[in-house]
């Protein structure tokens, strides 16, 4: 999948360079700064909406035990935990990937002065990209994340 004979390193690549490359870095930064954190925040909020059900769950099911359902409360909570964990991991993955793209854009820019100038100009001129605050997703108790928690 990787062309370029593995020669790729910061700033010296067979691909684009200079001003055009600066525009590429800006797009990369923009995805890392805005697109991925925005979607990560959606997932984190959805995760936390599910987490919020925990406080009212025992009271809602109180009194149901004499009426069977092997253990409907536990079965529901188990599925909820699984979905909540998936949403949390997705949020974290997107947020970390976004941070990586921003870090990478900066690293590439450090090795290509012309690209860096254009990249920084575009970032400076684009005042419409506030930092997205991604809420910390609440993982269910006992959930093992696919990757490190933030």
């Amino acid at each position: 999948m990787l062309s370029g004979g593995g020669r790729v390193s910061t700033g010296t690549r067979p691909g684009r360079s200079g001003t055009g490359f600066g525009a590429d870095l800006y797009k990369l930064w923009r995805v890392g700064r805005d697109n991925l954190p925005t979607v990560a925040a959606i997932y984190a909020q959805a995760c936390n909406d599910l987490a919020a059900t925990q406080s009212g769950l025992p009271a809602a099911f109180a009194g149901s035990a004499p009426f069977g359902g092997a253990d409907t409360l536990q079965a529901w909570a188990d599925l909820r935990d699984a979905v909540q964990g998936i949403l949390a991991d997705t949020a974290t993955g997107l947020e970390l990937a976004g941070e990586a793209l921003c870090t990478a854009a900066d690293a590439y820019a450090r090795a290509d002065a012309q690209a860096a100038a254009e990249y920084r100009r575009l970032v400076r001129d684009d005042g419409s990209v506030p930092e997205i605050s991604v809420p910390a997703p609440v993982r269910p108790g006992g959930w093992t994340p696919q990757w490190g928690q933030r």
Binding site: G15, I42, T90
Partner: protein, 317 residues
């Protein structure tokens, strides 16, 4: 009559059945006319002993109603359902995001399109982590996200199903108490003492099959949710109705016991459907988890030196 008075009614049933049993025990005994039902009281010098004796036959009645009096409050499910509904609103792409039971269409959360927008910016990058992110996150995003939406729907519809069971339970047990009291009130009326008991719990759920987006491996998800009539509070004619009868207080109470037993069976049967739905969703998730989860992106946590190399973003064409 309201559900909140259920235990009061249970005690009234016990008392009225006892009184009638005393009255009927005095019928046909010589020249003395049996007492009127309101003359029979536990503190009556004449009938007190009889009252105590017959009360023992019906003392179980309040106990029979107790689990129903403390059954779940359907209103307590509403905030939980709202929480899960918020999840669905957040994860809705619009098209196809429809509640399968109510037909409600969730409006699109346009911010989700930012994932699609990320595609073009990463298009030309050839490093392994860049390709990995495109292939495992961006390209399958709509289908995996759609399947996650489906799981959230399973959570919501099972809560609604559980809520519907308790709405119908309260209606049915209240109706049983009401009709039992009426049957006891009409104990000496002309004609047969019969009444129809409708079991709406048996008709409060509905099932359907939802198909996840998949590479062909996933099973269809069997979902169970509240029947439409529950929200409208008008039970369907299809709800089973059983005719009960009783010409003596013992027979009336036996019919009532049968009805309560039948209601309990209906509740257990419906809750088993919810359990099966939840178990099937968990099984589907464990067997075909890749259809519902994104793998760890290789970009995550990579140091800058790796990020700009061939195992990171590589170069852009």
């Amino acid at each position: 009559m309201s559900f909140d008075q259920l235990m009061d009614h249970a005690r009234q049933i016990e008392e009225l059945a006892t009184r009638w049993a005393v009255v009927m025990s005095k019928e046909g005994l010589g020249d003395q006319a049996p007492p009127a039902v309101d003359q029979v009281r536990p503190d009556s010098p004449t009938y007190g002993a009889d009252y105590q004796r017959f009360q023992a036959q019906f003392a179980f009645v309040p106990t029979l109603f107790e689990p129903f009096a403390s059954c779940p409050d359907p209103a307590l499910f509403t905030p939980l359902i709202h929480d899960v509904d918020d999840v669905l609103k957040r994860l809705s792409f619009g098209a196809g995001a429809v509640d399968p039971f109510t037909g409600y269409s969730y409006g699109a959360n346009s911010d989700l399109e930012k994932m699609t927008g990320a595609s073009s910016a990463l298009e030309g990058w050839t490093g392994r982590a860049a390709m990995n992110f495109k292939e495992t996150f961006i390209d399958p995003f709509r289908s995996i996200e759609g399947n996650q939406f489906l799981l959230a729907q399973a959570l919501k519809c099972t809560l609604e199903a559980e809520q519907a069971i308790w709405v119908a339970t309260r209606r049915d047990i209240d109706d049983i108490a009401h009709k039992t009291l009426a049957a006891l009130d009409h104990m000496q009326d002309c004609g047969r003492n019969t009444w129809g008991q409708t079991f709406t719990v048996a008709a409060c759920l509905t099932s359907l099959v939802a198909a996840p987006f998949s590479g062909g491996l996933s099973l269809a998800l069997d979902l169970v949710g509240a029947a439409a009539w529950v929200a409208a509070a008008s039970p369907p004619s299809s709800a089973p109705t059983i005719e009960f009868s009783g010409e003596t207080p013992q027979a009336v109470i036996a019919s009532m016991s049968d009805a309560v037993g039948r209601l309990g069976q209906d509740i257990r049967s419906q809750r088993d459907r919810i359990d099966r739905c939840l178990a099937a969703a968990r099984l589907e998730l464990s067997q075909n988890g890749r259809q519902y989860t994104f793998p760890r992106p290789e970009l995550a946590g990579s140091p800058p030196s790796t990020l700009t190399g061939p195992f990171g973003l590589g170069y852009v064409q």
